[in-house]
């Protein structure tokens, strides 16, 4: 941080950034609610995941692994490994937010890709703008995500067989949409390709869920040495 003094900034500009992220994320909540119910979760369980886990990729992983026949341990482990990145975000956000007590708990809960991303976008506008961007985005995404999870899960409950409405393809498409922006260079694309092959090769030999977790080894090997 270059400076710690309060810099004036246009709240509307930051709020526009926040909402332009939060509204499309809401539609993802719709897909999550639908995916959760078509994987066998109840409407209440879908909503509990959105309220208390509140991290899209991890939530999709829980219902995806269970839906594919995986056990509780695999589902929780995959979700937690995907949740690791939120720990790194918190580490970046903590010095900017400087919060304690309940505010720390609440800030940690809304520490996700989107709130961190919008906060970092405001770096030029100063610390106050970063803080505003973090809370505006975190709170807006929280509201939209939970609302749309409820709608999506109620909708899927009414539909019945997920295949007739393409819901079974919407889940992998959601994962594809989450990984796509991360495939920025040859190394990341190579990692993705090896992960796809590894997971498919292991699928007939390991219980469901483990082939996914096994790909963490690829991350460790590829991240071990600087290129």
């Amino acid at each position: 941080m270059r400076q710690n003094v309060r810099v004036s900034f246009d709240k509307r500009t930051v709020l526009r950034d926040s909402l332009s992220v939060a509204i499309p994320v809401g539609s993802y909540g719709l897909a999550f609610g639908a995916a959760a119910v078509s994987s066998g979760f109840s409407v209440l369980q879908s909503c509990v995941l959105s309220l208390f886990l509140f991290s899209g990729a991890s939530q999709f992983a829980v219902v995806g692994v269970i839906g594919a026949g995986g056990g509780v341990v695999s589902a929780v482990a995959t979700a937690s490994l995907l949740g690791l990145r939120n720990m790194f975000y918190g580490f970046r956000n903590a010095p900017i937010l400087k919060v304690r007590g309940f505010k720390k708990v609440a800030s940690a809960q809304i520490t996700i890709d989107e709130s961190t991303g919008v906060s970092l976008l405001q770096e030029q506008r100063g610390v106050a703008a970063m803080r505003y961007g973090f809370y505006a985005t975190g709170i807006a995404v929280f509201i939209f995500w939970n609302l749309f999870t409820l709608l999506g899960s109620l909708g899927a409950q009414a539909i019945g067989d997920p295949a007739t409405f393409g819901l079974d393809a919407a889940v992998p498409a959601a994962f594809l949409g989450l990984v796509w922006p991360r495939l920025i260079d040859q190394r990341t694309r190579l990692a993705a390709a090896i992960a796809v092959m590894t997971a498919l090769i292991l699928t007939p030999f390991l219980p469901a869920g483990l082939p996914i977790i096994a790909t963490v080894i690829i991350a460790i090997v590829m991240g071990w040495r600087a290129r």
């Binding site: 509780v72 295949a163 991350a219 590829m222």
Partner: protein, 102 residues
């Protein structure tokens, strides 16, 4: 308690603890370049593996069915820089059409 509830609550608890740890962790651990590099690859490999298993997996088998058509359509939509909602809708419609025809 049912397995689904255990998965729901444990995953929620662990993921919250990770978020909270980030706000409480001493600098030295997370600041290591190696840890950061590995961390940047973790979502890439896990999400890619999830795409693969959700597209081709059917219990312990690897099969090709209507889902592949849906995911391929999603990839084309992403390539054409479609928004996320549009991409998901494309995947669902194409997959449902192939499912009904086949």
């Amino acid at each position: 308690m049912s397995e689904l509830w255990i998965a729901t609550l444990l995953a929620s608890l662990f993921c919250f603890i990770l978020k909270f740890l980030g706000f409480s962790m001493p600098e030295s651990i997370l600041n290591q370049p190696r840890i950061q590099r590995i961390n940047s690859f973790i979502p890439i490999v896990l999400l890619s593996a999830l795409v693969a298993v959700q597209t081709f997996g059917s219990k312990q088998n690897v099969i090709i069915d209507h889902r592949l058509a849906g995911v391929a359509a999603a990839a084309i939509a992403l390539r054409l820089k479609a928004s996320f909602p549009l991409m998901m809708l494309t995947a669902a419609i194409v997959s449902a059409l192939v499912y009904r025809i086949a």
